[in-house]
Amino acid sequence: MKNKLHALWQLFFGDSARAFGSASVILLVLLAVAPAKNHFSQWRHYQKQYLRLIRGRADAVTLERHFQGGIQQIWMPEQQVTDRCTTCHLGLKEASLADVSSGAFRKHPVIPHSLTEFGCTTCHRGQGAATTLQEAHNATEQWEQPLLPAKYIEAGCGQCHLENQTGTPFLNQGRQLISAYGCTHCHTIKQPDGTYIIPDDDPPSLKHIADKTTREWIYAWIKDPQAYASTATMPNYHFSDDDARDISAFVIAQSTPMEPPVQPVKADAKAAADPAAGTTLYGQSFCASCHAMQNAAGILVGGNVGPELTGIGTKAKPEWLQDWVANPNHYDPGTMMPHYRFDAKQVATLAGFLESKTEPDFVANVHLDPATPEQIEHGKRLVVENGCAICHEINGIKKPENFAPELSRIGSKPLNQLIFVEGVEHTLPDYIGAKVRNPRAFGPSLKMPQFKFTPQQVDAVTTALLALTDRAQSQPPAMRIASVQQTKYEPAGRAGQLMRDLRCLTCHMINGHGGDMAPDLTWEGTAVQREWLTQFLKNPETLRPALIRRMPKFNLTDSEINTLADYMMTVYQTPEFDSDSLPMSQFTSAQVEQGRQLFYSKFACQSCHIADYKNDKGYIGPALAAAGKRFNAAWVYHWLKDPQALRPGTIEPNQHMTDDDARSLTAFVMSLKSGGAQEAMKK
């Protein structure tokens, strides 16, 4: 053995000539390793495959002209992008390769961004500088963030686009859910533009809760909020029977009576005799615009601004219901619910109707003995430990700060800082999804409660959270499209006070503050005539035949109506044009006739509007049969010229009318004074 080795050594390195020769050969081989590695590299293999693919196609010449061999790179240092993805993904810009079955060479789907200006990893993540499939796409030791799975891809958009976009329904939904379920009560989320995601679930104060409901109801509610109302946003804390007993004991014990106290139901407060009167009043007051209620078929009907009312009679005490319906400001000065100014009979009727909406099963099996001081003390400890006071005002308990981890950069959280559990894939999206879906799976002692999300909602919330990345925070501010924030606008003076009492801004937007349920009123003073406005406030008529949500009747006094009308007519004026610039006397009957022709033939306005209840049926825009009594002529003219300029986002199409056409149409619309829908119905 030893001899053989020696002979071999002698053969190659026996004398200096042999040694020189052998060493040269070894050196040559070693030198060849690098080029060989390059030659056999994975990306060359893909480029060869690509060439083979395009050579078989009809437009081979064009495609080959576009092809560039070698490593390709998109480099944008200010955005921290070094992407070599296009080395293998060669067909991303080739329109004719949209049908290719191999994902590597297919054309990129149409998006509003140029691939070379934004790079790939900006949206898709993964390791841009890598040139092998494994390293570029998957998690490696040095690179924790693999490609983002397709279902979360809108998280890429959300890094720059902080506003709602048409093309990202899931991101929008996720952000909306984060607000609606009050995630940011506990978790701070500071967006890259410096704004915070503000919760909009408006949890009620518990300071006077004993005036409103019973301990039994509270017990059943905290055991399972969704058992009371499927739409409830309060999460489930999985409290044991004993814990729920003690918490309900404490919540009742800390409650103080309202100031001034709730009046007991008066014996002489008579509801209307007709049993259907409550239903009618509920309908007439358009309660369903905000509140949902299950109908006889078990289908939920109504809006989601206020709480569901299916079992309100089981929840609320009769005297509290009367007090609330009479004036909600008494119990909750911060409520979104308007003060309706019902008379005593209406209050009794409506409260009686709500009382009859019960869910007796909900509290049927709850039997609680009177609470002991120890139970109340234990209940208080649980309330503190679970952070109930973050959402609810509670007497004697301070709102805790920094109760849960901040999530402003959760989308870039390093995996080594996370604790995974069995059954959760070792990736960030899977971790976030699992945490949103079932937080207590990560340990029974975790405080985060169980929210009731559908699988699709979990994905949406995860998408919104994944958008909160380091890249989003650190990229140049010029890349960001800021979120739309509400202004702090409040109407002023006596009218302002009245408008706050009526909660106009719950539904209407004015100067960038308010709800989106009803039309923007920023320029309402220009748009309408004062007489119409006072009439409408007194008795709101149907403007849009097909709409369920409508302006309720608030039973305002004449002087209140005058205050409102004066304020709106003076303050809510557009600076864009003079509302007196088109006096009615200017229009000739020939123009009116011309306008009628244009209305029915050229512009076919009757497809959406009703000018004459006898013939027209258009259901989309407001009925115009009495438009001449409602609108200001200059407003109509400018609206016809460019609707979106006066109310951004309105769906009336801009018809690009000539001045003459717009003038004639205005003349026709202003000549319509036949009366409102009610009059038409009477006929």
Binding site: V110, T166, Q456, S607, Y619, P653, N654, H656
Partner: protein, 249 residues
């Protein structure tokens, strides 16, 4: 002896620590077989690429006389990036299997299969078609819901009353492939931008070219193509393109 023992222990520990438990489910033990399989619900949905479909897919296994069979094994399959939960299951007491479906990451049409085996072991299957919208089609779907649907969709709900019946000339439903597939992209863009009158059609269709951007309208066309039933085949008849030119749009 000692180092050897330690080494063995270490290796065992390492191996047990590193090895991944395989989660392959065993084959389904069917307790019954059927003669046919039918779709109960969940076909022809319009979903989004990479996302879960709104409604689960439900199929039913029937015997030769057409009554439901419980305990038959049903297997779902589709393109590689489509996810089924579960991908295989036994039919319940009403003979049905329900699965949630996550579509693949590309927009387009997905052909899924549900299969079972009959008494002789022969495979019987049905095809279930689903549509996934990509980015551009999603934009189109959103615009459709905002601007188009109330006239173009005959279906009325209390929340969104259809305006179709109020129109003297009925608009085409956007899924109406028989009609819309015959129109070129240029025609569709012209009608949406300039209104029905531009192509000698009803002026009840207003022009949207001054309200929506060019890319919005392209997105709407992409959406119309994506949801067409029967499916749209690109590069089909373009007979109308000639006289689009004449109109100088």
């Amino acid at each position: 002896m000692k180092p050897v023992l330690i080494a063995v222990c270490a290796v065992t520990l390492l191996m047990s620590g590193c090895s991944r438990k395989s989660k392959q489910p065993g084959p389904l033990q069917a307790t019954a077989t059927g003669a046919g399989i039918v779709e109960s619900s969940g076909g022809k949905q319009i979903g989004y690429a990479g996302m879960l479909l709104d409604q689960p897919v439900v199929v039913q296994v029937n015997d030769a006389s057409g009554s439901a069979v419980a305990g038959a094994a049903v297997y779902f399959s589709g393109p590689s990036d489509v996810g089924f939960a579960p991908a295989a299951a036994l039919t319940d007491s009403s003979g049905q299997v329900t699965t949630t479906v996550a579509l693949g990451r590309q927009g387009g049409r997905y052909k899924l299969t549900a299969s079972t085996r009959d008494a002789s072991g022969k495979k019987v299957e049905i095809q279930i078609d689903e549509i996934a919208l990509g980015y551009q089609q999603t934009v189109g779907a959103q615009l459709n819901a905002q601007y188009c649907v109330r006239c173009h969709d005959p279906e009325s709900t209390p929340q969104r009353v259809s305006n179709m019946d109020n129109l003297s000339v009925k608009p085409h439903s956007l899924t109406e492939g028989d009609t819309l597939n015959k129109m070129s992209d240029a025609d569709l863009i012209a009608i949406i931008s300039h209104g029905g009158a531009a192509l000698n059609k009803s002026p009840l269709m207003p022009p949207w070219g001054y309200t929506l951007s060019k890319s919005d309208i392209a997105a709407l066309v992409a959406y119309i193509r994506a949801v067409a039933d029967p499916p749209y085949e690109a590069g089909g008849l373009v007979y109308a393109q000639k006289w689009v030119g004449k109109l100088r749009l």
